[in-house]
């Protein structure tokens, strides 16, 4: 049994530590009523009880995993490659969302350089074209990027998939419904 993973032990101990942190530090410091409170002359359940029960589940689970399941066969491992891979996926999504958020207002600012009367993105977020710029670019880049990472190369097919996905989603969510807002138009 060479190289048997001990991930259950580490996971269990991590959960126990997190649960103790919750019970003794986070919950007491971040709730205004205790486990039981006296209100209007009678005792009522306070806001700290439910999170403490949640922490109790995590503590119990951590103990079971680290004590009774620490030697089970085929324990999972998290490899460095997996961490890198999911970090790159998350980073790509964040980049896509950032483009979505800022490209529309940035495009308006650039357009303002050539106009006598400046425009404001906030007032244009219901205008076809302007309201789609951010979602289209951010969405297409996000999808194309994810496809490229998974396929380990940037292909025309990946770019096309990104463009088609963004266009289809605009057609599904935006064109038929006047009251729906695509990202980021509810925030700007």
């Amino acid at each position: 049994m060479q190289g048997q993973s001990r991930s259950n032990l580490y996971l269990g101990l991590l959960c126990v530590a997190f649960a103790l942190l919750l019970i003794f530090i986070w919950i007491p410091l971040d709730t205004k009523t205790g486990i039981v409170e006296k209100a209007r002359g009678k005792f009522v359940i306070g806001d700290a009880l439910a999170p403490t029960v949640a922490a109790g589940f995590i503590l119990l689970g951590g103990l079971v995993v680290s004590v009774f399941e620490r030697k089970v066969a085929d324990q999972p491992t998290i490899s460095r490659t997996q961490v890198k891979f999911v970090a790159s996926l998350t980073a790509l999504v964040i980049v896509g969302l950032a483009i979505m958020r800022f490209v529309g207002p940035a495009a308006v600012e650039i357009a303002n350089l050539f106009r006598a009367e400046p425009m404001e993105y906030r007032l244009l977020r219901a205008t076809p074209g302007w309201k789609h710029i951010g979602f289209f670019l951010g969405g297409a880049i996000m999808v194309a990027g994810l496809v490229s990472v998974v396929e380990r190369k940037l292909t025309r097919r990946a770019v096309l998939t990104g463009i088609i996905t963004a266009v289809v989603l605009i057609a599904v969510f935006d064109l038929p419904f006047e009251d729906l807002l695509l990202p980021p138009n509810g925030d700007v």
């Binding site: 205004k32 589940f57 995993v65």
Partner: protein, 530 residues
Amino acid sequence: MDILGYIWLGVQAVFLGPEAFSILGMSISITVMMVLSGFLFGIVVGATPGLAGPFAMAISLPILISVFGYSPDALLPVLGFLIGIMKGATIGGAVPAILFNTPGTPDAFMTTLDGFPMAQKGQAKKALRVAHFSSASGDTFSDIVLFVCAPFLAIIVESYLDLPEKTGLLILSLSFIAAVIGGSAGKGLISIGLGLLAVYVGTGEDFYPRLSMGADGLSRGFPITTAVLGVLIIGAVFKELEEAWRETGQNRPAKVPTQSGDQKLHWPDIKRLFPFIARSAFIGTAIGALPGVGSTLAATLGYSVGRARHQKTKAADAPSFGDGTPEGIAATEAANSAVSGANLIPVLSLGIPGNAAAVFLILAAESIGGFNPGPAVFRFSPDVVNPELVIAFGLFTCMTIANLFNWTIGGVFMRSMGFMINIPKTLLLPAVLLLTLTAIYVQETRLEAIWFALGFGVLGYVMRVLTISPLPFVIAFILGRSLEETARQAYSATGNDPFFLFNNPIALIFILMSVAVIIFAGRKPKGTAP
């Protein structure tokens, strides 16, 4: 109003609801069309490796709510569509399992064992017919059990269980789900604890939103869509993408061998398969009625029992289970399909979701409003019409309609879906991810929700890597508030008795059962999560 009156109102709500179109003067209601669309969409999704029913339900829900709005009239069309997906995906999953040895949905894995060898022997169409017949039979049986059991169970719960017992029942359900999902009681408890913790952030009765760390974003709590779609869908997409990334460059040719011989399912075949179907349908229904016990276990158990029986009864020259026998497909498909209807027994009678599909039905009901699955739904009020009960019987009608579609057009449509294997996961999954993020945004209209969902997605991915099932997390997130609310009410109702769970015999039994189920499951860790 008596029970027959309610059933009739439920049927009318489906058939006499808003009209989609009319044929020769006969009105076809929108709800019927939504059940049909959901069913066909479900088959397509089920037949696409990498996607599954919950994906389709997750991405459809915001679009459906946008189309139908938040009025009570929206309930049946939306829930009908989701039920259609649930049923369609179950049979669709067998298509790539049989044709390409790739299960379309996780519960179709056992179907590959005999389905693929049959296809290799040139009997693919027959294998698909067996899978469809068995699946539709198991599903129909399960639905009938649901229609009969759910109202009775709900009436018993309402009659005999008071607030302390209901609190005990919720704790028992969470413990049971922790113990049975994923094969590790400890990891199940961790998943439940994290789900409860997440739902308690930013909530509570005090003016200060608890556990919010003073942050404005956390003070409103995590929206249910971000937690459910994040952990269940985005986490699954990340995991699937990782697997696709590992498989890059190892594409297998998708080829079906030339088909030969009689591909039809004849009456003697059905007679031979019937005992296997009946046994598995019963197993699947019994397992499905328990919250949290999934269709994968039902399929495995149905297959094992079928194999034991087949070994004793088969002719000497007949193929064994695993060598491409129709009985193997029948035993698996009847069992995993029988789970779907029975899984709604705890949802409708207790308000406790038992699987991912049930989670989305509850999410839809909660988003639209006017229908709160739980024992109160089955209150047969004689004087005033209980609209929730009408919806419940409307749902049963939708399930019956979906079954009719399954028996009539399901087989033909399913057999035409073999080409879905050719859609590469590497292109499909990033598109699903963007679709999910967009769906979350259009419902919540703030980028914060997307960040939360992304965070929950990473959590869902890590949970999957560590073989912690994310389903207990989601179920705990859904039940968390009602657990706290019921406990608060029980505490007040018992005169502030801090031991209300232990001074009431039924509640005490539930608590003892909760402890027992964890101890029993903890003694047999099986190592891997689905």
